[in-house]
Each structure stands twice: as C-alpha cells, then as structure tokens.
Amino acid sequence: MSALLARLVASRLFWPIVMLLVLFTINLIAFPGFFAVTLRDGHLFGSLIDILRNGAPTLIIAVGMTLVIATRGIDLSVGAVAAISGAVACSIILGSPEPANPATVAVAVTVALIISLVLGMWNGFLVAVLGIQPIIATLILMTAGRGVAMLITEGQIITVNSPPFKALGSGFWFGIPIAVIIAAVVFGIAALVTRRTALGMFIESVGINPEASRQAGVRARGLLFVVYTFSALCAAIAGLILTANTAAADANNTGLFIELDAILAVVIGGTSLAGGRYSLVGTLVGALVIQTLVTTVYTVGIPPIATMVFKAAVVTIVCLLQSPTTTEALSGFRRRLALRAGKGVAAS
C-alpha cells in the first residue's frame, strides 16, 4: 500500500493532479453546482465545459511548446504567430465576396496555417542552422511578428461576419465545443506521432544529452526544424480559435501573454525547462490547472484581473520546487530524517 503511494507521489503527474483537485475542491465549496454538466439545445453546458473550451487555445499552444522545451528550447513567438494567423484568416474572409461561404473559410484557414509553417521554419532556421539561442531567436519573431500582424490588419481590428468561421471558436459539434474537439485532435496527433514514431525518443534524447545523441547519429538539426514548425502550427490553430471566438482579429491583443500561459502549463505538467523527458499528459493537466485557476478566481470573487498575480506565484513556486538547490536541501533533509529514524531504531 505504502509502496503504491510512494510510486504515486514519485510520479511526475502527482503534484499537478493534486493542484487540480485542490482547485476543484475550492470551486465546489464556493459554487456547489460546479461539477454539473447539463444538456441545453443539444449542447453541453457547465463550468467544466467552460474550462475545457476556454483552455483549448492554451492547451494547443502548450502541446507544441512541450516538444520545443523538451529539446532544451523555448518558443516566445507563439503569441505573435497566433495574432498573425488570426489576422491573415480575417483579412482573407473580409476581402472575399462571400464571407459566410465555408469554402472561403477553408481557404482562409489553410492560408493562415501555411504561413505559420513558414514562420515556424524561420524559427527553426535561426535556432538549428544559425545556432542562435532559442529565447533570442524567437524573441525576434515575437517583436516583429506583432508588427507583421498590424501590417496585415492595417492597424485596425478586423471584424468578420462569417458563421462558419465563428463556429471554430464558439460552435458545437455533437454537443461538444468545436474548440475542444480541435484541441483533442491536436493533442492526439502530437501524442500519436511522437510516441508511435521514434520522434519522441529523439526529441528527448537530444534534450537530455545532445552530444551523446550526435554520436549515436541522431540528426538534431532536422529535429529542431520539426518542433519549431509544429509549435508555430499549434500557435496558428490556437490563434484561429481565439480570433473566431470574438470574430475579430486584433493584432495587438490576440494571444497576448499566451506564451507565458503555455510555458506555465508545460512547467506545471512536470516537463523540465532544462529539456529532456516530456509529458504531454502532464501538459494537459497543466493547461487545465491554469484554466481552472482563472475560473476559480472568478468563482471565489477575487477580481479576475488578479489572475496574473496568481500565475506569477504559481510559476515561481514551481520553479523553486524544480530548482537543484531545493532538491539538494530536501534530499539532505530526508537523509537526516532517515538517519535519525535509523538511530532511533538502533537505540530502541
């Protein structure tokens, strides 16, 4: 029994899940109907559904970010890429004679996604070929990307009236929010592709020990291209959902600070910022924790604006817990405890 408990505690998912459960409990106390999910007009409604739907963009970006971080990298440009893809899609829809035509929306979405692939390859080029540190390389696109988005929207907030596009953000399919379905698909594909092919193993291997991986013949360069491109693709998908949700492309505010939420989700999920082993399930739990935190702040009645302070607190605590200094101090403490316990046994 205790062995099982020990294994559970040792699991990397343990603390994130505990955090999630604590947040759920707080919500339940503040709002007894928290877990209730009802069917209205054939659509699912309830706080949990809201958490899933609002958390979908963060989760999608966090999935891409997980793979980038596993290679010892970081992608700060996701917010800007999200803004660009939203801007591209909206301006195409706005410029077309039939904004409500699903074909128009399909073209707009496809173009937005292709552009994001180019942006991702750009990041990959800077990191893998030019060897620029990932923070700085993606910082460039983070700055310039918002400018590009502004250029596309010509500094305006582009509002579109296109039901098929809006459905991406707020529609339902078989009662389930489409955003949630998209997130599930992205998550599933990422999990499947990295775990069913050798991609996941190579990503981890490069993140853990780049030199040993090189000597084993792993091609890190191509790998970095793949993860940065995938991350940009994820960012673009999230950007489309965010834009569709409000039916407006706002180059300044779409995806603002979302890179921080995504990094936070990855870190809470137990993937170390130092790279190496990653857990997509952990990232899923991490994204849920963040979204539930936001919801909790609402339900408990704290001004919603304060969520950023809470996020800062969470990211600080998680980083301090992951810090080698803390680990050392803890293990020293444990050893001393064990020693004392051992002595106690010997004495008795």
Binding site: A198, F202, I208
Partner: protein, 571 residues
C-alpha cells in the same frame, strides 16, 4: 638540485584522504614540495592528481590528513584563501577572461584604487612591470582574447606570481602550445625557480617532465606510489608505476587470438587511414585495419589515442590525410556518416558522450539503430523488445528491466548498454575507447570476452585501454602512440607489457632502436614481466635530503639483457 638541500618543505601534505559518494578519491596520500624546485605530479586518469591539487588549493575539503604551509598548519575554504596564503594555480584554460585587457587579467581583484575608482594608469604600470619581469613584450592595455593561448598562459602566470606566490601550480600548461611556446614557458618557469618559487608542473608529456622537473610524485588509483628524483628514475619505471599492473583474473580466456590468420592484403582492409590527422589533436598517422582484426591502441592519456579513434568514428573531422573504407576514400564529417559506413565509436566518456541517462535501457539500446533508420520508420515494438531482451541476456545487463532508466545502472552495466547500442547496428568496425574503465572486474571480463568473440566472427575492433594487459590479451596488432605521434605498429607476437612500456615511454617514430644515450637502457624492455609493482613504501624521503633515500625497484634495475628488439618493424 643544489638549492633544496637544506630547505624545509614549503608544502607538506600528510595522510590526505578524500571520499566522494561511492569512491575513495584519495587514500592517505603524502605530498611535499620544496622552495625552488619544479615538481611533477604523475598518474593516469582517476589517479587522483586533480583531486590532490584541489585539496591543496582549498576547492575540496579534506576528510583526513594535514596540510602544512611553510611550517604552519593550514586549512583553506576556497581558492581565494589559498591564493592569499601564497598558493596560486594556473589552470589549463579556464581562469582567464578573454574579454578584458591583459592588465586587468593580471590585477583584477586587487586593482590599485583612488577615491573608489580604479586607477587605470597605476594598474597598467604595475602590470607592465610584472610582464617585464617575465621578459614579455606585451601591451598591458590589449585585449587578452587577441593573444595566442601561449601568451594567455604566461599572463596567467604573471597574475599568479603577483600575489607573492610561494607555490605555483601549473595544471597542463603545455597541452595546447607548440615547441617554441613551450620553450618560452620553460624559460619563465626556470626564472621563477631561481626566485625560490616551488612549482608544481602537471603534464602528460613525459619529455617535458624530464626536461623541466627536479622531482616527481606518482599517484595511482588515489594512492601514493612514491616520490622520486627525476634524474634517478628511468622513464620505463615511471610509466610502469603510473600504469601499474592488475592481477590477471582472466586466465580462462585463451591467451590471445594470435593464431587467427588475418588477411592483410589491401583488398581485405576494412579501413585504411593514411596520414590522417587533426591539427592540435593528433599528428598525421597511418592506421590500416583488416576485417576481423583487433587493433589495440596503446599510449598514455593525452598521447593521441582517443583523438585518433575519434577521427575514425567521425566524431571530429580530420583536416589532413585520407581515410579509405573498403578501398574507397571517404570523408567522415559526422558520426552519422560513420555509422552508415558501419563504423561505431563508443566514447571513453560514458556519461557525457555515451549513454542518455534519462532514457530507458531499451531506448538507449535502439537509439543508434533507430537514428540510422530515420524517425518515421520506427522499429516495431515487438522487434524492439526482442532486440533489447536479447542484448540484456547476451551481455548480462543487470537489472534486466528494459524500462529502467540508464542513469540508475552501475557503470559496468551502462557500458554494456552502450555496447549493445553499437552492436545493434551490426558494425563492421567497432571502436571501443576505454570500455573497461571504472567498471568492476566481472563486467570487465565479460566485455573482454565479447570483443574476442566479435573478432572471431569477422568484426574489426579498435581497442583502446590504459591497461596494457588488456590490450595485449585482445589485440592482433598494437599501435603505440606517444606525444600525438604513432611511434610503433607491431604484430602482437612476443610483445610483453614491458616491451610496450618501453615504447610508450621512449618510442621513436623513425629510428627502430631507442637511443641508448637518452638514458634508457633498451634491455629494460625485455625484462620478464615484473610481478605486480612492489608496494613502494609511501614514506617520504628524509626531509632535508630529498631523494637520498629513494626506494628502488630492484627488479627493474637488474635486468636480464636478452637482446630482443621490441620496437620491431615499423610498418
């Protein structure tokens, strides 16, 4: 050797022991240095040289023993304190700042100041004076990074002696210098010696040690072997003391595979390196390896043995010479290319360049094979499990759990996992760089047996080990390196540990016979294997009369003058 006869030792370390988790790095080591002498600390990898230096300079605390500096017992809590007390260290490369000026690198931390501001003019003046004292023509205001490594090294020495150093430690100062630069460094060392500074000179280059040092201390496996006057210690004896001998536990393994007929015609050569070299790492070397042949590389640490192997494995790029694989000239730019040519290099640095610690045993074993196939063609899970299981059984990897993280395995088992990774790609040439270092005797025997069997089945093996017995036992042919040159290439026929030792100590690339005038009787090479090094008493010589009571190895000096020629045919 006249100046030290009446002096007290400036440094005396007695019974120094330091333990790290699981390892006893130093075990009751005594060490001393006299003013105005150049002293060398000798030993192979893991002998405890750097641990001893770090103990002396306060980087590590000591678990037992005493350190006496100029008669007073001391204990330093850090390098700054040691430096203040007069013990300065010049490391191989790390302790200078290329982005600052020469003057700052000399004076930083004790800059002359006026009203809280650094007095740049006074600082330059003092730095210039110090440089002049070393007869260096340098602009103190120039950027350190603009100068050659040799000059940087001398600047580091200038910094070290400015703190009124009593003891100056030079850790591998010559490893990246050319001959002229070494001469310049030695000139500076000699002048410091005349000023009464005790200099600890650590180097892999025996020639340099014999040129500049008065006395040396040999360590092996964390223990003291002895302290000797350089002029009284033959090189061959020195090398033997450094390498030591282990009692053979592998008698069950048939002596060696000498009887195997290796077809050495050009057509059968699997690889043939001609003049392959890399500047600053290994001088151009020839190395033919036939299919099914085990070639041993013998040489001390830093002799170029690893550097040569890395060129063959595609880890580093060669900038001279060419390499033919199966008769076709091929340029190996990446390990990947080597692997696709069925050449596997297993690094000596298991932890940093070998295993991927946070991955499972299974992932580590299939990594290279999978990398060769590409990421989109995964090895089917069933095949992966079979492969893993079969290697776990064949190599007896413990624990036999394919899902265990490799970092939790013992050194020997990590090595086996690494071997399994390379065997999985079915290499034609397997390069094993120190595969048996730091692993227990059982695993060692298993790995040796494996190499033997692989060669019988037609795989070529390039085998590197600091343990000569091992090299002798396994190799068909042995290539000896010294000071980054190949000095001999011999059939393993009638070679003994001692004849190898002789070559390593005093090999020569063009003359067949080591020059007797170099002070090394050739006969020493033909001594019948000396029984394990006589336990040299670790008692230091009588203080005040250093070296007077040097412990002699009786076996090594009374030699049986059988006239054999161990250097044999230069191929």
């Amino acid at each position: 050797m006249t100046q030290t006869s009446v002096a007290e030792p400036v440094i005396e370390m007695q019974g120094i022991s330091i333990a790290f988790p699981g390892v006893k790095a130093l075990d009751g080591v005594d060490f001393r240095m006299f003013p105005g002498e150049v002293h060398s600390l000798m030993g192979e990898n893991g002998a405890g040289k750097s641990t001893l230096i770090k103990a002396l300079t306060g980087v590590y605390g000591i678990d037992a023993g005493t350190i006496t500096l100029a008669g007073d017992q001391v204990s330093f809590s850090g390098p700054a304190q040691a430096q203040a007390a007069g013990i300065s260290t010049v490391y191989q490369e790390v302790n200078l700042l290329p982005n600052l000026s020469v003057a700052e690198n000399i004076m930083l931390g004790r800059e002359p100041r006026r009203f809280g501001s650094i007095d740049w003019r006074a600082m330059r003046r003092r730095a210039a004076a110090l440089l002049e004292g070393l007869n260096l023509d340098l602009d103190p205001g120039s950027l350190l990074g603009d100068h050659s490594l040799a000059v940087q090294q001398l600047v580091a020495i200038a910094r070290a002696i400015d703190v009124q150093a009593k003891v100056l430690i030079l850790d591998e100062p010559t490893s990246s210098l050319d001959a002229d630069e070494v001469a310049e460094l030695f000139r500076v060392i000699r002048s410091l010696k005349e000023q009464g500074v005790a200099i600890l000179f650590v180097s892999h280059f025996l020639d340099q040690v014999y040129e500049i040092c008065d006395r040396l201390t040999v360590l092996r496996n964390g223990s003291l072997v002895g302290e000797y006057l350089v002029e009284e210690l033959l090189r061959i004896d020195l090398v033997q003391k450094m390498i030591g001998k282990e009692l053979t536990t592998l008698d069950d393994l048939e002596q060696r595979a000498r009887s195997v007929v290796v077809d050495e015609s050009d057509a059968a050569l699997f690889v043939n390196a001609e003049g392959l070299g890399r500047r600053g790492a290994i001088n151009p070397a020839d190395l033919p390896i036939a299919a099914g042949e085990v070639v041993g590389l013998a040489g001390l640490l830093g002799s170029g043995r690893t550097e040569l192997a890395r060129l063959l494995g595609g880890i580093d790029r060669a900038d001279q010479g060419e390499l033919a694989i199966r008769g076709k000239v091929t340029k190996l730019r990446t390990p990947r290319q080597a692997i696709s040519n069925r050449i596997a290099y297993s690094s000596e640095n298991r932890r940093d360049e070998g295993v991927v610690g946070d991955l499972t045993v299974r992932d580590n074993i299939v990594l290279a094979l999978q990398a060769d196939r590409g990421w989109f063609r995964p090895i089917p899970a069933k095949r992966r499990d079979e492969l893993t299981q079969s290697y776990i059984q064949a190599l007896n990897i413990r624990p036999g759990n394919p899902d265990a993280l490799v970092r939790n395995l013992s050194g020997g088992n990590q090595q086996k996992v690494l071997l399994a990774r390379w065997l999985a790609i079915a290499p034609r040439l397997l390069i094993l760089d120190e595969p048996t270092r730091g692993i227990d005797i059982g695993a060692k025997a298993e790995i040796q047996k494996l190499v033997f069997n692989l060669a019988e089945n037609g795989m070529s093996v390039l085998f590197i080990s600091a343990e000569l017995e091992e090299v002798l036992r396994l190799s068909h042919r042995i290539v000896v390196l010294r000071d980054r040159h190949v000095v001999a290439d011999l059939e393993n026929d009638g070679l003994t540990v001692d004849s190898l030792l002789a070559l390593i100590a005093e090999g020569s690339s063009d003359d067949e016979v080591p020059d007797a005038s170099a002070g090394m009787p050739l006969a020493g090479a033909a001594v019948p294997a000396v029984p394990a090094v006589p336990a040299v008493p670790a008692v230091p010589a009588v203080p005040g009369v250093p070296g007077a009571d040097r412990p002699h190895d009786s076996a090594a000096s009374d030699t049986d003058p059988t006239p054999t020629d161990p250097t044999g045919d230069p191929r």
